[in-house]
Symmetry: C2
Subunit: 403 residues, 2 copies
């Protein structure tokens, strides 16, 4: 009884140890004298997005889910670490960002050593940590600690309304700040990529501000605020390029015609017509990853894992070369209604369906077969202490012991 | 600083200690020298149904949620203890029922001492335990251990198909069994009421069986199988009457015209027109409780607690006397997709909204105000170890520590 595990790189060997759908269990070996299993991923990028801004996720919860990610053959933790509601990332360069912008400056922050621990814990499981510091929108929490002029003052008629909009793209101080901030981020997070966000920029505040209006006129942007967004993003991209990182951005940055470096990864998340978007993005020659059909925060009654499972990422019209540009996808669990109390059961085994889709061959799509494997797999997770919720009526030999 | 707690019965005083929406906190007393709070429930029956058949719920999970029920002013635990998928109730009289019918005869059963503990734990918190042994439908798991002729053999053409339908209502042995079984149940569960079920009886198997057809003809029932259902239920009610228990039944028993004792409690659960049903049931003079709008197993994205909160149980057309017959309601968390991994966060604080609706005055209906109280209340639950899920973006000073 011998099993040989070969892999071209150490990460593949790690994955071979994994206990995903196709897990090799020690007790299987009892009746197997020789076995040859060829197993390799269909897509290189198999990610999971967790959001630690809308709710703070304790380290323990993140580590437990990294462990579960490894069992489900995910290899990228997309850490959507800050956003409008809170700024839990403790920056060495700008400590006031979390001091003012976190829900609580001591109990609801990720210290440098917390971040280090998470990255190392992930690395030992073959998981990359891609951090996202989303700008210029989704930055309300940045404004609390960065007491200067980072965010755009919104106007109500002729005077400031007291509220603030996206990052202010017309001030040099903004770019000085971003240069210093992303220099830090690029050293803290060793991954070759940074996710720069760029989604859902609300133009109404920019439109209300007379200084912005004047700047638009000077630049010859007319009233096309996506040109202003483009202006900001292009300068940001130049800054991040100096750190020698590659970058990912949400699809609007591409949709709005921002000039991108050729190796940019475009992250497709919007609506139902993801096929058209993939077609456009790859036609333009960009590498892309898909999340649109895998927003796990949208819950519904019953077995919604089937819906996630049935997605075929390469169904769009395009050449073989275009299809090769789809390097993978990510399941996203946004945090509006999710924190440590319900994240883990809401994530597993629903995300497992995405994990198999991104790992397995296109032809592996029998939902009945997947159901029976997934049922066993979720019991394995439960036995190991991960409260993965049931797919349907039934039981596990070893039920979850916690509450 | 003195607070006086008065109540006509001990249960009211227990409730006064409770920590529901209106919880009196010790730190509140710092600035209060005298206080007079008049607080009493609008409805006497404030129940929560948990289902231990579709998934087995460990004792620990049941106890934790009884505790949370007390904090949310619930006073009835409707224990839907057995159903089609499994029979976890360990009967002293018929041990083979759980031996054969439970998911596992040792690890997935409630022993007599487990049941006793749950009842006593509930009693100390002012919570009644109303057990439900649903017949004649929802009884597949009964058939495994009761090897006689308890269930109706279904026919495919002229010969038995090998599958079984509802309880067989034409055999005397059925009633002998039920008499012994409910005699035991009536002593195990001290509450004055038993829930007898009676919902969703599928007539197709009865229709297929030639013996049943013959019996129908003899009795002059024609082809009206609801008369056969009525025949069964009436004999069952006579049996339970001899145990000196009152009983509750699901609405179909009333809808199908089964003759009921005048003190029967009709449990309204179906569809959207619960107002019409309440009108009919109370017009016929029956006491009733409402669950229809409070099926918490149906989940959706966002703040569905508001929907539960906005229900007004007495909105139907009827006299004051009719409205007095609505003695309360129950939130139901059926177990198809729920077990120990996800029950508690799925239940709280969504059920809290039902708890307040059943406790508070009709005029207490400001959802903004409820939101702010409920947000604090859920953080209190979290601090005490109950993983109540978040209502929306935000944080608790003391986040949930488990995974």
């Amino acid at each position: 009884p011998v099993a040989v595990l070969k892999a071209p790189k150490v990460w593949g060997a790690l994955r071979g140890r994994g206990h995903g759908f196709y897990a090799i269990h020690t007790y299987f070996f009892k009746s197997i004298n020789r076995t040859e299993i060829q197993d390799f991923p269909r897509f290189a990028h198999r990610g999971l997005l967790l959001d630690t801004s809308r709710h703070f996720l304790p380290i323990k919860v993140i580590l437990a889910n990294l462990e579960a990610m490894a069992w489900n053959k995910f290899n990228v933790f997309h850490w959507h670490i800050v956003d409008d509601p809170s700024f839990p990332y403790m920056s060495r360069t700008f400590p006031q960002l979390s001091q003012q912008g976190a829900y609580h400056p001591y109990t609801h922050v990720y210290t440098p050593s917390d971040v280090k621990m998470i990255i190392e814990f992930a690395r030992l499981r073959g998981i990359r940590v891609v951090s996202e510091f989303d700008t210029p929108g989704h930055t309300q929490s940045w404004g609390k600690g960065e007491c200067g002029d980072l965010l755009t003052p919104c106007y109500s008629g002729a005077s400031p309304s007291g509220s603030f909009g996206p990052v202010n793209p017309i001030l040099n101080t903004t770019y000085d700040f971003m240069a210093m901030f992303f220099k830090e981020v690029s050293t803290v997070f060793p991954d070759a990529y940074i996710h720069l966000g760029g989604d859902e920029v609300d133009f109404s505040c920019w439109k209300s501000n007379p200084d912005i209006q004047k700047f638009m006129a000077q630049q010859g942007f007319g009233t096309d605020y996506s040109k202003l967004e483009s202006f900001y993003i292009q300068r940001l991209l130049d800054i991040v390029t100096t750190t020698n990182k590659g970058y990912m951005i949400w699809q609007e940055v591409f949709d709005n015609g921002v000039k991108l470096k050729s190796d940019t990864v475009v992250h497709v998340w919007m609506g139902n017509k993801f096929e058209e978007e993939l077609q456009k993005v790859t036609e333009a020659g960009f590498t892309t990853i898909l999340s649109a059909p895998w927003y796990l925060d949208y819950i519904s009654y019953g077995q919604d894992w089937q819906k996630y499972y049935k997605v075929e990422p390469l169904i769009f019209n395009g050449t073989d070369a275009q299809k090769k540009l789809v390097v993978g996808g990510e399941a996203c669990l946004w945090g509006e209604y999710v924190d440590a109390t319900n994240l883990t059961p809401r994530l597993w085994p629903r995300a497992s369906a995405v994990g198999e889709r991104l790992w397995s061959d296109k032809d592996v799509k029998d939902t009945n077969d997947a159901y029976s494997r997934l049922t066993k797999h979720r019991c394995r997770m439960v036995q190991r202490g991960i409260p993965a919720e049931p797919l349907f009526t039934g039981y596990c030999a070893h039920e979850y012991k916690g509450v």
